[in-house]
Amino acid sequence: MVPGTTFVRVCKAVLVATGVSIIGLATASAQTATPPAVAPVKLGIVTFLTGAAAGPFGIPGRNAAEIMIEMINAGKVPEPYATPGLGGAPIETKVLDENGSTANQVTEFRNLVQRDGMHAIVGYISSGNCLAVAPVAEELKALTVLFDCGTPRIFEEKSLKYVFRATPHATMDSVAAARYVVKKYPELTSYSGVNQNYAWGQDSWRDFVAAMKALTPKAKVEKELFPKLFAGEFGAEISALLTAKSPIVHSSFWNGDLESFIVQSGARGLSKESTMVYTAGESAMFRMGSKIPDGSIIGARGQHGVLAPESALNTWFRKVYEDRFGTPPLYPSYHMAQSLLGLKAAWDKAAIKAGKRPTTDEVIAAFENLEFEGPSAKIRMAIGNGHQGISDIAYGTFKYNKAEARPEIVDIVRFPAECVNPPANMTSTAWLEAGMPGAKCN
């Protein structure tokens, strides 16, 4: 072994690798060569472009980002967002794939901020990635808007300055589902759940059970099933549910697993025994159509898509999105749109106050406790020290309109934000365990 010369070579290799990477990145960022009049705001967008979450969440999120940023730059978004860009500065984007390990995500986050000089990052669907990048965002003092992840832990475990999430956290989905079920089935005696065996599925089920315990203590949990994530085959789970005969079955399934479950349970007539509650059902509604049994309870992680109330902004958003991509926007598209609009509202407000391009700290000050209109609901950055948004939510019942051959949602019930979200001074778990004190439902 000749380590001396070896290490000279190590150094050479490091230098060569560094050089290669810099050349590679130079070519990667060369596309944006023409200098605009105002220095652009560089925005990093991180969402799933490959892997199982790309189809239902990642791509609809990216599509929304694409159309919204184009429209914001052109100043074509309806009031109150009709000014071009962020405080007049055009947005320049770099889109990255969220697929890959947490280590990759943290490395790429650093690269976006320190190497590519992004001014803000909007992204992240996986709660694990959100939890992992949040401390890094703090360390790098990088303004970050998490757009789709659901875990309430982000702002409950520590107080964050540079991280925001306009999208309400997942506790709301489970609480509203429980409230809807109790409203519709006041005499319910038992219920079951089938959720994917990972953090999202476990948390959804735990919150749903806690809310049910508070609302209807006499109802008992019959079966708790946790199939593997992306198992695809649910024969045994469906048999277990068929034998349990619970009137209500809760499920936070999404994407492929949701669709596979609908098909497999449909063929075996599970709907004759049980009414399904799909908390993320909206994402599959149009693709599955008549495969979803009438009467199933459908949620959309907020009041998005078909659950959204009429508004000029919503009508406009649906139209530009459908014109470009040929499909209606799904709830992740709404999550992306409202995150970008929140950022724009804060940035514009800060720019007016500062009278020039605002600093990150000024944008943060403007973003905290901000209230702004999203396409589907008013978002209030009311909890998590003014960094976590809350909004109203709606649940409805699925009905297939045979005459017009299209799916519909009937019996829509809206719950005000304060009815389904913990107050600012309580964590979700503590609030649920205490029986949801202070909930204002009118």
Partner: protein
């Protein structure tokens, strides 16, 4: 390895450590992450020389990472050096235990059994809601001999820690590979029964190799946890193990430094691929791997040390 070489190596590492002001921060953390997998790969080289390729080395990597996270969370230990030592010990202990079983297996069965063990750890971690299930948990930022560097200083401190670990790993793995036990690897790979006839217990030798490799993987996991400040069950998943084997092939088993250079090249290629082709970076990685195997069968390490290949015979 002579004293002269060790000193020379130490000098080079000191030089690298002093390079810090010249390097951008993102590159420093990229190199740190690369070194964490380099540590795992240096252990895989020990096993690969004996013809063993575990598809479950993530078991020890995740053990190291979670040890750091939990020692911080439960025992309130914050000193980086203590945390790394704990992680190494924990991973080695797991290996000493798992090795009772694993050391009896060869070839693909060794690979599959180690995969099964790592997937059982993955399942346990996913099931433990207190540890955040698949979301994982944050790791508190460590202290260094009572000092509390934060922000950029923390990134640099972890980078220096990684250099020290890599230096120690290089010394000890090279020393081990040069020892009688280490030199036995080729013989075990070629014909185990003949080794047994020499009066040497192959099972015990492999058990030892496993434990050393696991200790290195534990150090890698600890470094990753300190650098990323987050651990999650994905660290124990089989695709993580697959990534380590990938880098081992890329680097080749020829020399220990190749493990670290290979890991760095891998990380750089991945980062470029992600930036250039966000929707198809796996394709780029796959192509690089394929081209390496087809055209540089002894790994990238063999390009750097071409002279020495002829005498050594890195593969059969």
């Amino acid at each position: 390895m002579s004293v002269r070489h060790t000193l020379l190596g130490a000098l080079v590492f000191a030089g690298l450590a002093a390079c810090v002001p010249l390097l951008p921060l993102w590159l420093i953390s990229l190199i740190t992450i690369a070194m964490s997998s380099g540590l795992v790969v240096s252990g895989l080289i020990i096993l690969w020389r004996a013809g063993l390729v575990p598809f479950g080395q993530a078991l020890f990597f995740a053990t190291g990472a979670y040890t750091v996270a939990l020692a911080g969370l439960w025992l309130k230990i914050s000193d980086a050096v203590v945390l790394v030592i704990l992680a190494i010990v924990a991973a080695a202990l797991v290996a000493a235990f798992a090795g009772l079983l694993l050391a009896r297996y060869r070839e693909i069965f060794f690979a599959m059994l180690s995969l099964a063990l790592s997937m059982i750890l993955y399942g346990l971690l996913v099931k433990s809601e207190a540890l955040g299930s698949t979301d994982g948990i944050n790791v508190a930022q460590a202290t260094f001999f009572g000092m509390k560097p934060r922000g950029a200083a923390y990134t640099i401190a972890v980078f220096w820690l990684s250099l020290v670990l890599v230096f120690l790993a290089w010394l000890s793995v090279t020393a081990y590979l040069g020892s009688v036990a280490g030199q036995m690897a080729g013989a075990i790979r070629d014909n185990e029964i003949r080794v047994e006839y020499l009066g040497i217990s192959v099972t015990r030798l492999i058990h030892l190799k496993l434990t050393i490799a696991a200790a290195l993987a534990g150090a890698g996991g600890a470094l990753a946890a300190l650098s990323i400040s987050h651990v999650d069950p994905q660290m124990a998943y089989w695709t993580t193990s697959g990534g380590f084997v990938f880098v081992t092939i890329l680097a080749g088993a020829v020399s220990v430094p190749a493990a670290f250079i290979g890991a760095l090249i891998f990380e750089v290629i991945r980062s470029i691929a992600v930036a250039v082709l966000p929707g198809g970076w796996q394709m780029i990685l796959g192509t690089v791997l394929l081209v390496t195997i087809l055209f540089v069968p002894n790994g990238l390490g063999s390009l750097i040390m071409r002279k020495r290949i002829a005498g050594q015979g890195g593969s059969k």
